[in-house]
């Protein structure tokens, strides 16, 4: 049965492997290594190659002639019988997770020439080439599913190598992939040009050309020097303890306002969306107050609250509360009626519906609201601090203007920008974490 084939056979083997689906577009190097594993064999017409439940050791590639491949009934293949000709691959049971026995009986219907490849050796070879290996495994799955009519359960057992194509593509590998794409594209260089233009213009306009209006503005070198100075002339830099005190005070005020607004705003919004009567009673008053600009409340807040500290936090809270409540209400109203009806059918009581349908369903809108709310609370905090605060970044900016310490104004502004960005990034992260289903759905919908 075994007939030795000469060196010419080597090129023949590569030619045949090139015809198969799994190795069709493998690189020449890998193909040569697979061909080296292959042992040619020849069968007469009617001779059986292997039968059901034999040990699944080798993989077969048909070089010439034709074989008949009949699945055992338990496999549940839609078409039990399959004829395999040149370029066809069979005997791949060894590639299935935990499958050691043959799933079919194969016999040559006419004189046939095949290549036998030891399955375990092939898997090791493919694992040594992670990229191409994963590719080949993926093509095996496509081939099995396209040429052999096997049910999905069997198909799902095709051994996945640990290469990038494994099922559990974690979001980390996706972000890495996105980052590598970003690096390869021209965007980072354009960004550098953008910043160079902006900072360059600032430097030239103020310090070099001394344009009319720009002369009094603090120059970039002054600001940077002040910011990084060990002992800054105006007492505020990365090394002074007071700088961080202002930051902490501002952040603490925003946090208090944000959490208070989130708890009250979300509950109020859920009630507004959930019960029609409540909305009919309360929403008109809510809408009457909403257009009043938050900062118009400043004097009234000072009067209402004895301590300026609580007045400042109240103003930041007010801004967030309106944004959160409104978006939560919109979230509840956006939930498709059929979800609530489905929960009804499935026997969920009111509270269970609230917990498993209303809240998760409204979550995307709630987080849109929270994004706006964190931005708006910084917006109002700064004004409140400028007008009435003792500490905080707004106060720093205003007093450094009054005391003509211009570089510190810019330091205050830049710090405010960074801190604002960081807090809203935190809210976004929390949103992505809580709504993983949405992150995947958006990724799939290419957004």
């Amino acid at each position: 049965m075994e007939a030795a084939l000469g060196a010419r056979a080597g090129d023949d083997a590569i030619a045949v492997l090139r015809d198969t689906t799994p190795f069709g577009d493998a690189s020449d190097a890998v193909l040569a290594r697979i061909a080296a594993l292959a042992r040619p064999a020849r069968y007469a017409a009617g001779e059986r190659i292997y039968s059901v439940d034999d040990v699944a050791d080798d993989l077969f590639v048909v070089v010439s002639g034709r074989v008949e491949h009949v699945f055992k009934p338990e496999v549940g293949a839609r078409e039990a019988l399959k004829r395999v000709t040149r370029g066809g691959v069979f005997g791949w049971a060894g590639l299935l997770l935990g499958q050691t026995r043959r799933l079919a009986t194969v016999s040559a219907t006419e004189p046939a020439e095949v290549l036998r490849i030891e399955t375990e050796a092939l898997v090791k070879l493919l694992e040594s080439e992670p990229l191409e290996g994963a590719r080949a495994m993926e093509r095996f799955a496509t081939m099995i599913q396209r040429d052999f009519t096997v049910p999905a359960t069997l198909l799902a057992q095709v051994r996945r190598l640990s290469g990038p194509l494994t099922e559990e593509m974690s979001s980390l590998s996706l972000t890495m992939y996105r980052f590598s794409l970003w690096l390869k594209s021209p965007r980072p260089y354009l960004m550098l040009i953008g910043f160079a233009l902006f900072l360059g213009f600032w430097y030239l306009a103020v310090e070099v050309w001394k344009l009319p209006r720009f002369r009094e503005m603090p120059g970039i070198t002054a600001v940077v020097k002040e910011w990084f100075a060990k002992s800054p002339t105006y007492g505020l830099s990365l090394y002074t303890e007071e700088y961080y005190k202002h930051i902490v005070v501002s952040i603490w005020r925003v946090t208090q306002a944000f959490f208070l607004a989130t708890i009250l705003g979300v509950t109020f919004g859920l009630l507004l969306g959930w019960s029609r009567a409540f909305k009919e009673y309360v929403f008109p008053v809510f809408e009457m107050l909403r257009p009043i600009p938050i900062l118009a409340w400043v004097p009234l807040a000072i009067v209402m609250f004895i301590a300026t500290e609580s007045a400042v936090v109240y103003l930041a809270f007010l801004a967030s509360f309106f944004a959160t409540a409104l978006n939560t209400m919109l979230g509840v109203e956006s939930i498709d009626e059929s979800y609530i009806r489905a929960a009804d059918c499935l026997g969920a009581n009111q509270w269970q519906q609230f917990q498993h349908v209303i809240l998760p369903g409204a979550l995307p809108f709630i987080f849109t609201g929270l994004q706006i709310s964190i931005g708006v609370s910084w917006f109002s905090l700064v004004a409140a601090e400028m007008v009435s605060g003792q500490y905080g970044l707004g106060y720093v900016i205003n007093t450094s203007y009054v005391m003509v310490r211009y570089p510190t104004i810019v330091i205050g502004m830049v710090t405010l920008g960074m801190v604002g960005y960081a807090t809203s990034a935190l809210v976004r992260l929390a949103g992505d974490y809580l709504m993983e289903w949405r992150v995947r759905e958006l990724a799939l919908a290419e957004r």
């Binding site: 049910p151 999905a152 359960t153 799902a156 498709d336 059929s338 979800y339 009806r341 489905a342 929960a343 009804d344 059918c345 499935l346 026997g347 969920a348 009581n349 269970q352 498993h356 349908v357 998760p360 369903g361 979550l363 709504m435 993983e436 289903w437 949405r438 995947r440 759905e441 799939l444």
Partner: protein
Amino acid sequence: MRRPPAASTRGHIRIEDVVKVYDPEGAAVLAVDHCSLEIEPGEICMIVGPSGCGKTTLLNAIAGFHEITSGRIVMDGEVLCSTERPQSTPGPDRIVVFQNGALFPWKSNLENVIFGPVMQGKLARKEAIDKGRAMMSDAGLSGVEHNYPGEVSSGMRRRVEIVRALMNDPKVLLLDEPYRALDSLTKSVMHEALLEIYYKNKVTIFFITHDLEEAIFLGHRVAIMTTRPCKPKKVLNVDIPHPRDYSVLTSKRFRELIEETNDAVHEEALKAFQAGEKEG
């Protein structure tokens, strides 16, 4: 021979002289006009009619989402709703599969499937997961348990939804044009998948569609409804033996049944079309 193959006793629905009048902004609209229909237990009953003809109103009445104006709907001897008690309470014995799907996108497929029994406290979470996993692999859905509905194909979402319904061992499955958004090839695959599940579970199916071929391919009986206000115009007994597969679509008997009912359906569709019924 009209009795469905298995002599199951649950899910026998009698719709007796039901009338439904809507009054959006005061203009009384007659949606269902003295409709009477009987659905045998364990039978697939198809309701065919042009869009907007009031078939969904019937389904909503059985499910308990809307009330009826007069008449009675009885299931297995128990009065669901009547002139005195116009709205029945939704329950796990009558589960609806909605047109655009109602799988909770924020729960994984398996979580969706076990939602019913766990909420009603019928099964402990552990048991529900085992039963859910078994039913899902039975319907060829193994491997997608932990994916979110948004990540699987629309055909597969449909099957998860049906498995979610069957987990509660309902008396009747109320399907509201579930395959309307699918392309016709996936539709034919879904039909076979539905029949596969039906043969295993023998639940009564109340199926609404405007696609005549789908009705005759699936149904034991097909009720052709008039355009609004809807009432059964013709009831056809489909004597093609079960189990059926796609080859039925090109069989002689199937084509005869299509010809027999085609003009009846077309006539209603034309009336609806001229009456300017909103499409779909």
